[in-house]
Symmetry: C2
Subunit: 299 residues, 2 copies
């Protein structure tokens, strides 16, 4: 509990994880974000320092949690020549929560080791509300000893550890995460087709969803996204652009394995189209804009 | 309860429905199947007459339940010049349970009316075990009065009515059924891609399925087909060939509505490929033969 925690990347996910840990009695000492205003506001809220240097985050923390947007950002915070997290990082631990490619997790672990620091990937398969409540589904990859050492903190983010999983070596959690989102995106795009066709046939969509829920068509995304698709309520929990990114990561893995995955490819094409039409910032349920008649124009 | 019931089409589904109704005290008086041997065996088992003429089934029954393979067979039993179910059908009721196109249900209802008989579509979204146990999910289409009249019997097939749904006019239940199976087929083909890629990446598939089940990747088919895909156990409950047929029905409806459904199209292509490779008689979970490395050859 005496651990000092720093955060790099305090968007909707990172900020809520910081709030949660502060609430649990952790000392959140440092926050950093390219959005300086957001970082300053959060820092004021939870009594942390809003750092303008990454090395300062490391200096103020025992554990640094990173929640950045993509591979490029993840590599940059660990390798930027002028200022990076590994300066003075000996004995520190990094927990990397962004959805990035498995290879980048492996690379970051290597760099951290070289600097005398520990690194763990902790992929999240949940959203903003769960970050705030400390009920994230967390899939971890890295050395088992590092995982065990960080467990007390991870538990506070994952419903007292009920949703905490050790998957295997660095990169494997990101692989699992990519597969989760690939399958989720397929199911979501498929559901949008079922409901879109149902609407075109003038079927009662409430009944249709009830039937789906009782049969082989049932899925988690039916519960989370079905009504939103019907009601055209696409307030963003997990954006179409993110869906496209994650399916892209999975398809790259498939290509390396020389596997052809036509459903994943079709769903990537749909999410890419969604982004191109200007709907990339809508929730993934906004894929229904492409399958309901008369939709697909900017509201 | 005094109703005499006939069955046309006593394959795995029809035979088990007949057994169930006989068990519930209904008098199953007549069975008919192009497979004469199967019909004779069932007739002996439940004390019915194995008919060689369709008109004889009608003569012996108040209600005739038809469970045939496709549109062609469904139309044939009602329109064959020499011998069909509508000969002497005045006052009889037909319950049509096959997965056929919505249009055929409408056509059969029209023909039955002309002959002074009632007709109801009762689409099943369950499988063999549920037929035997009387716990089928039954979606009905037709005149509400006909549905109400047949309800006491339908209840005995649908878990005391808990799984019985009146959807709307003739054809609409078949539309819903086609949508259910279209979405189910997408989810199944998508799951096979997720598990196939997981296997190629040498991830622990038990852990992967557990993660799927806890996240946005969860689905009914994960529970019913996931392990079978991993274990390559494709004993048939719902065949790949049937999956291809049903997705085809849904895509035809989509085409009529001028809707493009790329995920449904990709899954139809996969199931069609499965059939072409000679796996059409495997369970739909056999779609994993196309996505796991080293599979896809006849065992």
């Amino acid at each position: 509990m005496s651990k000092k925690v720093g955060f790099v990347g305090v968007g909707r996910m990172g900020a809520n994880m910081a709030r949660r840990l502060a609430e649990c009695g952790y000392k959140v000492t440092a926050v950093f974000d390219v959005n300086r205003k957001g970082a300053a506001e959060l820092a004021a809220e939870i009594g942390a320092e809003a750092c303008t240097k990454l090395a300062r985050v490391t200096a103020l923390s025992d554990v640094v949690i990173t929640v950045v947007t993509d591979d490029k950002a993840q590599l940059a915070i660990f390798t930027n020549k002028k200022d990076n997290l590994l300066q003075g990082a000996k004995g520190r631990a990094f927990i990397n929560c962004a959805t990035i490619s498995p290879k980048t997790h492996v690379q970051v672990e290597k760099l951290a080791k070289k600097a005398g620091a520990a690194s763990l990937e902790a992929c999240m398969a949940s959203s903003i509300n769960q970050a705030r409540a400390g009920t994230l589904y967390l899939m971890c990859g890295g050395e088992k000893a590092v995982f065990d050492k960080l467990k007390p903190l991870l538990i506070k983010l994952s419903d007292e550890g009920k949703l905490l999983r050790y998957i295997g070596q660095a990169g494997q959690a990101a692989q699992v995460k990519a597969l989760v989102n690939m399958v989720m995106n397929i199911n979501t795009a498929g559901l949008a087709e079922g409901l879109g066709l149902g609407a075109a046939l003038k079927l009662d969509l409430k009944t249709l969803m009830e039937v789906f829920s009782q049969t082989g068509a049932n899925s988690r995304v039916l519960a989370t996204d079905g009504e939103d698709m019907v009601n055209r309520d696409h307030a963003c929990f997990f954006s179409g652009a993110h869906a496209a990114k994650d399916s892209g990561i999975a398809l790259k893995l498939a290509k390396e394995q020389k596997l052809s995955l036509p459903l994943a490819a079709a769903s990537l094409a749909q999410y890419t189209k969604m982004v191109k039409l200007g709907f990339g910032d809508l929730d993934k349920s906004g894929i229904a804009e492409l399958t309901f008649k008369g939709r697909g124009k900017k509201k």
